[in-house]
Symmetry: C2
Subunit: 248 residues, 2 copies
């Protein structure tokens, strides 16, 4: 058993957009970075797993924004692993500003894979895990399964060198850039994201041709990315504070 | 007068590629980040300039790699401003590994602009500057002017939300991603970059359609990015340790 661990982050100029607030992508990047740092510090991160030919892959994420942090704003992110089963473990995050108000909260689910087979391993046999659990409830509901969409707009993207990580697989943040770049840019200026759900379903690799689809349903933007074999790679939804109309 | 300032950096997993070495783009990002942090610490960074409607823009860069740093490797980057004239100031960088060996060195030239007019300001009237000069010679030759190229390959890229910074202009690192993504991926696995030159000639904005061209001349990869008005935005060259043949 352990307690939550808290990391401090200051929003850098490279993390903001023209609204002078942190971008959605930079805040997801911040969450994923802290997941990595915290797992490393506790002895079950990719520093250790890499030498054993194992790694973490993210499966689902739910992210609730109370507001987007501003340029140069400092906030504290607390993170804890609340449970694990055979296939998935749950890592939670809460971010609090200097006045003690919530900025965002997230629940992420991860699998551990064998890097040779890319198949999941049974988490019940990872010894380091048990003593690092913090039995405290998740700050928001667990991530949900996202249904297929009917795209109003699609774009094609060939996976390039800059999209891939050390393992030749597409970096998770790249899917988000692809999705958000389909939105009318006024979305970023005129409204606020409230709630994001993501399902990471398959990996894509260097050379794949991805088709990203986007559908606007009232206040929700829905996304789906498929590879050239029509396999769904990723689905996501972003709920905004106001209904936004899709314009080509 | 002042001395050099040294910052420590550890190569993160997000900064490496499948060769398990830092990418060219991540090292350029590291140099630009440190330029920003050091200028802020000395009182002439964009934290101060932003409130005065001024900002820095990079004009040219020369970057020499002795080798690319590896995953989790820690190195020290020293930086100093060696001179300034009416239009441009020179900021230098040297990176040294834990054994005291050089990993890379860079010379960058910057202009200060008025954010309303996007025109350069006269640096001779920036008071903070004089006392922060470190009269030590540049670690490599100054950046050079790069000639027009005859592209063997071109790609089209529409500037999207993820490409732009807080000022709605394309982030400098995005030009590099666009250029490096045109190279055969084997370049990254089979050879090493030795010397990079960059000329930033014009800014590009959200909605622009960019055409990036690439020409391989022996051991040198040459690049040129133009906007839809045929204005040259950026030129760059990367010299590799071995001659590499361009294949479509």
């Amino acid at each position: 058993m352990t307690s939550k661990t808290t990391y401090r982050h200051t929003v850098q100029v490279s993390e903001i957009d023209f609204s002078l607030r942190a971008t959605i992508v930079s805040m997801i990047g911040c969450i994923l970075d802290i997941a990595g740092v915290d797992a490393d510090e506790k002895g079950f991160g990719i520093k250790k797993l890499g030498s054993e030919n194992r790694s973490w892959v993210i499966s689902r994420m739910a992210l609730h924004f109370y507001r987007l942090p501003y340029k140069y704003e400092t906030f504290d992110i607390s993170t804890w692993v609340s449970d694990y089963g055979k296939l998935l473990t749950t890592r939670n995050f809460t971010a609090t500003d200097e006045n003690g108000n919530s900025t965002f909260a997230a629940v992420t689910q991860w699998a551990m894979i064998d890097l040779s087979t890319r198949r999941p391993l049974d988490l019940r046999y990872v010894d380091e895990y048990n003593r690092h659990l913090c039995i405290e409830q998740t700050p928001i509901n667990n991530p949900i399964k996202i249904a297929a969409i009917n795209p109003q707009k699609t774009i094609i993207h060939k996976v390039s060198y800059s999209d891939i990580d050390f393992n030749r697989h597409v970096n998770s943040l790249r899917y988000f850039m692809l999705m958000i770049d389909m939105l009318p840019v006024e979305f970023m200026a005129n409204t606020n994201p409230i709630h994001i759900e993501v399902n990471f379903l398959h990996e894509s690799q260097y050379g794949d041709t991805l088709t990203a689809g986007y559908e606007q349903c009232g206040a929700k933007s829905l996304f789906e990315i498929k590879n050239n074999s029509d396999t769904v790679i990723c689905r996501a939804s972003i709920e905004w504070k106001a209904d936004m109309t899709w314009k080509n």
